[in-house]
Amino acid sequence: MTTADITSADATHAPVPAAALPAGPSGGGPGARLAAAWRTVRRSRRLSAGLALIALFLLTAAVGPLLATDPQGFGTDLSQPPSGAHWLGTTQTGQDVFDQLMVSTRTSLLIGFAAALAATAISVVIGIGGGFLGGWSDEALSLLSNVFLVIPGLPLVIVISSYTKGGSLLATIGVIAFTSWAASARVLRAQTLSLRTRDYVLAARLYGERRWRIVLVEILPNEAAIIVSQFIFAVIFAILTQAGLAFLGLQNPSDLTWGNMLYFAQNADALSGGAWWWFVPPGLCIAVFGAAMSLVSFGLDEVLDPRLRVYRPARRGRAGRQRTAPRRTAPQQQAARRQEADR
C-alpha cells in the first residue's frame, strides 16, 4: 500500500521539523522538550538576545535587593559621580543610585508583569468569550471593550490613581490592567470569530464536544501566538504607564521604581545640574527592557511563522564550508548559474 510506504518513510526523518517547534512533539520526556525549546531559541538571534537581556533583568530583580544596602538611607556623600564606593554615584541627599536601581528593578518588573497578566486575562475572557458566544453576549462585551477603547487611557489612570492617592502596589497594578485590556480583547474577538466557524471546530461540535472544551482546547491554542505577543507588549505598556504616573508624582513616593527615581531626579534638577548618573540608569533600564521584550516578541514571530524566517547558515558551518568545499571550476559555476536562472 502506497500510504504505508509513505508514512513509514516519513517516520524516520519527520520528528526533526516537529521537534524544532516550541510546542514540541507529543512524545518524549521533559528533557527532550527542553532540548527542543533550546534549539528553537538558538535559531533566532533576536529571540536569544531578548531572552538573555530579560534573564539579566529577572536575575537583578531576584537577587539585587539582597545586595543593596539600604537604598533609602541618606549618606554624607552628596551628588557624587560614579566611583568605586558608589558604582552609579549618589543622589542629592546622598542615597546610593546603584542600590536604588537594584530595588526599583524588582518593583517595576513586578508591576509590569502582574498588570500585563491581569490585562491579558481580562482580554482573553472578554474577547474570546464574546467572539465564541456571539449574539447578545457578544454585543454587550464588545460594547464594553469599545467603551474602554475610546476612554482616553492616561487621563483615566491619572484620575483613578489620584483618587487612590498613589495607593498600594496592588492599586497601581489594578489601575493599569483595568485601562489596558480593551485593544487586545478586540483583536482576540476578531480572531475567535474567524476560528469558531472553521471546519475543525464544527467537527468538534458534531461529535458533541462540550463548549468549554471547544474554547479551551480547540480554539485557544490557535490564538496562543497572539496572546503571547499581546502579553509582551502589555508588560512594556504597564512599565511605561507606571513610569509616567510616577514621573507625574501620582505614585506612592516611598515605593522605589524606575519611574520614581526619574521623578526624584527631575525634582532635584538633576538634568540641569548635570547629575546624569541619577537619571540615565533608570531611563536606560526602561528603554533596554522594552527593547528586550520587543526582541522576544519579534523573535517568537520569526520562530513560529516560517515565512518570516531569514535563512542564515550556521556560523561555524559557513566558515568551515569555505575552507573545505572544493573550489568550483568555471564550467561548473556556469552550469550552476544556468540552473539558478532556470529556476
Partner: protein, 353 residues
C-alpha cells in the same frame, strides 16, 4: 433498512430585508444502511444546506429528520449516529493538535472508549481501518506533517470514531489530487460495506456519483429535479437541467470539437447562473424555467414529480422520477421532447453551427 428519513426538509436563512431565503425547499429522501445516495448539483443549489441541517448545524425551518424512524432524537444520541466528513482536509483538522487528539476526543466525548489503554487501542484500530500505518507513528504527527490524502483519511477516521450509522460526505475528494481521489472513494466504499453505513455523498462530479452510489438526486436551486438509480439518471437523463449537467461534463475520450462545445455550454450556463442568482423566483413555477430550452406555458405552475422510466414489470418501476411538466402531459412531451441522451441536452437552435 432506513437509517435516516428526511421529510419535507426546508432550510431558510434570514436576509437583511425581505423574506428569508429558502435554500432548500421541501426535500424528502431516505438513506438506507449499506447504500450510497449521491446528491449532485451546481454550487448554490443547496447541497451544503442539506448537510448542515442533517448534521444539526442549522435548524431546519420546516420538515422533520427521522433517525431510525424516530423524530427529535436527543443531541447526544444523534451525534453518535450521524457524522460528517468535510470537504477541505486542510481546514478540517486542528493545526495545533496531533492526529491522536483528533481521534481520541470523539471516542471519549461519545463514550465509545474509556480513557487509557482502551482509547489507545481504539485510536490505533481507527488508523488501521483507514490504511494509515504504522498507526503509532501517524498518531504522533500533526496535520501539517501529512499530505492531503492522509489528512482526509484522518478526517474519515474521526467521523467513524463515534461509530455512526449515517455518514455525510461533503465533496470529500474535491480538494484532493486526482491521483488519490479514487483511493479515498474506494476507502469510503469499503467502510460503507464493512460497517453497513448509510452514506450521503455530496458532489458535483457526475462520474464518481455514478460509480460510487446506487441512487442519485439532482438538486437545482433548493429542489430535487430528478432522482433515480444512478445509471439511469446519468445515462438517460430526463430533466432538462440534468441533461445540461451531463452535457457540460466532457468525457475523457471526447474529441476536441466535443470538448470545445462542452466548454461553451458550461460558460454560457455559468454566465446565466450568475445573472439568475440575484433574481427572485416569482410564484410557484418551475425554477429552471428561465434557463430551460423546453419551457412551456405550463411551467409557470409548480411542476409535478413524475415517474419517467416505464415500469419494466408494472411493479412501481425503478423510481426514476423528474420534476418536470414534460413528462406529466404525454401530448406536450411528444411534441417538445427530442430523443433522449446526453447529446440532446444542447438545445436544437444552439446546436446548429
Amino acid at each position: 433498512m432506513t437509517a435516516l428519513d428526511v421529510r419535507d426538509l426546508t432550510v431558510a436563512y434570514p436576509q437583511a430585508h425581505g423574506r428569508p431565503f429558502r435554500a432548500v425547499e421541501r426535500l424528502s429522501f431516505s438513506l438506507r444502511a449499506g447504500r450510497t445516495l449521491a446528491l449532485v448539483g451546481e454550487s448554490g443549489s443547496g447541497k451544503s444546506s442539506v448537510l448542515k441541517a442533517l448534521s444539526r448545524l442549522v435548524r431546519p425551518a420546516e420538515g422533520s429528520i427521522l433517525l431510525d424512524g424516530r423524530e427529535g432524537v436527543r443531541g447526544r444520541e444523534y451525534r453518535r449516529a450521524v457524522q460528517m466528513v468535510f470537504q477541505d482536509p486542510f481546514a478540517s483538522l486542528n493545526p495545533s493538535h496531533t492526529v491522536d487528539h483528533h481521534l481520541r476526543r470523539p471516542l471519549l466525548a461519545t463514550g465509545r472508549a474509556r480513557r487509557g489503554a482502551e482509547a489507545d487501542e481504539a485510536v490505533a484500530a481507527l488508523l488501521r481501518q483507514v490504511n494509515l500505518t504504522p498507526a503509532a507513528d501517524v498518531a504522533r504527527k500533526r496535520p501539517h506533517e501529512l499530505s492531503g490524502g492522509q489528512r482526509q483519511r484522518v478526517a474519515i477516521a474521526r467521523a467513524l470514531a463515534p461509530e455512526p450509522a449515517v455518514l455525510l460526505a461533503d465533496e470529500p475528494v474535491s480538494m484532493l489530487d486526482v491521483s488519490i481521489r479514487l483511493e479515498i472513494l474506494n476507502l469510503l466504499d469499503r467502510l460503507k460495506r464493512e460497517r453497513d453505513l448509510a452514506l450521503l455523498y455530496v458532489t458535483h462530479d457526475l462520474a464518481t456519483a455514478r460509480h460510487f452510489s446506487s441512487e442519485i438526486m439532482v438538486m437545482y436551486r433548493g429542489e430535487v429535479v430528478e432522482r433515480g438509480p444512478s445509471d439511469e439518471v446519468i445515462l438517460d437523463p430526463r430533466h432538462p437541467y440534468t441533461r445540461l449537467l451531463a452535457a457540460a461534463a466532457p468525457r475523457t475520450g471526447a474529441s476536441r470539437e466535443e470538448v470545445r462545445e462542452a466548454r461553451r455550454v458550461r460558460l454560457e450556463s455559468r454566465a446565466r447562473r450568475d445573472a439568475e442568482r440575484r433574481e427572485v423566483v416569482v410564484g410557484e413555477g418551475c425554477r429552471f424555467r428561465p434557463r430551460c430550452p423546453f419551457a412551456m406555458d405550463s411551467c409557470a405552475r409548480r411542476p409535478p414529480e413524475v415517474q419517467v422510466a416505464p415500469p419494466p414489470d408494472g411493479d412501481g418501476g425503478t423510481g426514476h422520477r423528474a420534476l418536470c411538466w414534460l413528462y406529466a402531459d404525454p401530448a406536450a412531451a411528444a411534441g417538445a421532447l427530442p430523443a433522449a441522451g446526453p447529446a440532446a441536452a444542447v438545445p436544437p437552435h444552439r446546436a446548429a453551427p
